[in-house]
């Protein structure tokens, strides 16, 4: 699936860091609170995982693919926004719930 040039060239540390930052930035673009939170958590988790050198190229390619997914989905989510969740309000409402 990857072109000969990307397969031959090793993935550098700079590339990885750049991908990591791009994924985090893209993830912040989700209009949905839960997707935003999940994207941040999952990206951090995945990049922190121990990885044997042989699988780095494949993981990187997958990351690039997912970056495209996140960017597209974040854009679409901003086209059709839902009302913000209770948990998102800055001084979120005290746990008042139903009136007495």
């Amino acid at each position: 699936m990857s072109s000969p040039s990307t397969a031959a060239a090793a993935v550098s540390r700079t590339d990885i860091v750049r991908l990591y930052r791009a994924l985090l930035t893209a993830g912040r673009g989700f209009a949905d609170y839960n997707f935003r939170a999940h994207a941040r958590r999952r990206v951090v988790e995945t990049f922190r995982e121990e990885r044997d050198p042989g699988s780095v190229a494949e993981a990187y390619a997958f990351g690039v693919n997912q970056l495209g997914v996140v960017r597209r989905q974040a854009t679409i989510s901003r086209m059709y926004e839902a009302a913000p969740l209770v948990i998102e309000s800055p001084g979120r409402p005290p746990a008042g719930g139903a009136p007495q």
Partner: protein, 382 residues
Amino acid sequence: MLPHLTAQYGNPHSRTHAYGWESEAAVEVARAQVAALIGADAKEIVFTSGATEANNMAVKGVAAFYASKKRHVVTTQTEHKCVLDSCRQLEARGVDVTYLPVAKDGLVSVDAVADALRPDTALVSVMAVNNEIGVVQPLAELGALCRARSVFFHTDGAQALGKIPLDVGALNIDLMSLSAHKIYGPKGVGALYVRRRPRVRLEPLIHGGGQERGLRSGTLPPALAVGFGAACAVAARDMGADEAWIGRLAARLLDGLTSQIEQVFINGSTSDRYAGNLNVSFAGIEGESLLMALKDVAVSSGSACTSASLEPSYVLRALGVDEELAHTSIRFGLGRFTTEAEVDYAVELAVKHVKRLRDMSPLWEMMQEGVDIKSIQWSQEH
């Protein structure tokens, strides 16, 4: 999914043009993704409109096909309504159905199933993960039993798919109902796994153009099927990570509740369960009031299918949960996208309102004083 809702609008059954070919190819990729998640062959996956349809197909279809020789079906009292209702339909057509009770922990006894089997039993249907209380039934033992006794084993896997590892070969499952929207796929699509070796025959519910090996006629929805497949692929990749995350959230939720309020009861086995589905009862308060107070948190008492009625859940009743406690049950669902902040908020809200409701509850006051609520004579003799 979007390409199939926009440019790639071909009918996957059209054999004569590129629109059809590309849609069919996409559907077949999705079919393989669904199959891979359960260890099945792609040819064994029949797309349906959801798990309800799949359950109907399995129960009614198998019973109908083998009707001349087999007149008995075994199931449990805690199955999803669509299984129970389909069984009721079978009874109306003269098929005997045994609805096995479950133990207090919600698990069915394999011995009880073995005892219930008759020479003319066509099917055993036991759900993998219960949608109301989250317990996981002993699938491996049940599958082995059914294989040994040559009875088909169907399991409603809607809540299990992508959450617990499933291998239809290892578990000797012959039919399994699957739902897309339970694993973050689109609503309106599901599948029925139908084993080919040894072959399971069933009478289709829907006849017509012969799609899906003749088992389910009708044009397939490429967008929905592709969404289902993609959801399965993601679940396959993330199952381990999801399990760790949801386990952590569930522990946080439970610890948060039990460390701040007493008399909190988990409904269902604490050992054989899926962590993301936690059903708890709070003694001494009224359930509907708590549910209304928690309206900022999307919880339910019972499941979506039964949330409209005021009756306590039949699942909790089957567990032998006290009527009072059954009324106060709340089901917390935790998933891949749930955050710790949400769990903390839910705990805070629940604790606050349970305390508030208990403060004004005369029943709770009596319970604290050691009065046995059951021994109270509520009406006066004249």
